[in-house]
Amino acid sequence: MTTMTEPGTATQVYQLYIKASQEEVWKAITDPVTVARFFFGQVREGTYEVGSPIRSWSPDRSQMWGDNVILECDPPRRLVHTWRSLYDPDLAAEPESRITWEIEAQPGGFAKLTLVHDRLDASPKTAASVRGWSYILSNLKTVMETGEALPPLT
């Protein structure tokens, strides 16, 4: 394991089951069209090669939301990238944290998706704000299982 974190580092874990194959979930989290549907309409660009940038913008491209780097890419199992919340100046000023997407095939045509957001020790504002992962991931589940997106957050 190359991405072991030290105990005591600030870590958040989100997990859910999606009625889809491992490959379908991988495609959904890397395909710009699907990403836009479950992730606030963002414009996503990236080749997903290790060391390459993964960038995102607001739907009208007026604001950059993310300018991160791919740390690991093992389709359809594991994607690791850096995280900085550029959409808010207070959050953007905090140190970089890390996102790990893990997809496991499950019996009965399900995939288990685990998102780990860690290295948040020195980024308390980011840690508080990214609790919204719950909404984003349940939106991904809804998009994949029903084809519909959830109503926007109010």
Binding site: M4, T5, E6, P7, G8, A10, T11, Q12, V13, Y14, Q15, L16, Y17, T114, V116, R131, S134, Y135, L137, S138, K141, T142, L150, P151
Partner: protein
């Protein structure tokens, strides 16, 4: 039992809600740390309650070195929230559309 039954059953117990509250305050605790948070329970009792929470998906464990850390997973609660709140909102919207139709029909 389906997933939702497991979540409601897990949340129906005050000790398990207490364990979730403690993880909300300080995520990623080990079994030993959680034990210290609820001194009224035996180690076996804490393990049993954590097992029910894990089964329901409300707690996810991750191994780091020799230690197993416990994390509060809020996604199952979010899914229940969306199921009921969205249904409620959809009904509200339908009722407003009916009202609009009625009022406009009367003109």
């Amino acid at each position: 039992m389906d997933d939702e039954d497991l979540v409601f059953k897990a949340l129906a117990d005050p000790t398990r809600r207490l364990l979730l509250d403690r993880l909300f305050e300080r995520d990623g605790m080990t079994l030993g740390e959680l034990e210290a948070e609820v001194p009224q329970l035996t180690r076996f009792g804490v393990m049993r309650h954590l097992g029910v929470l894990e089964q329901a998906g409300l707690v996810v464990t991750r191994k780091q070195g020799r230690h197993k850390h416990h994390y509060l997973n809020p996604v199952p609660i979010r899914l229940i929230y969306e199921r009921w709140i969205d249904k409620y909102r959809a009904r509200q919207a339908a009722a407003l559309l009916d009202l609009k139709g009625q009022l406009e029909g009367e003109r």
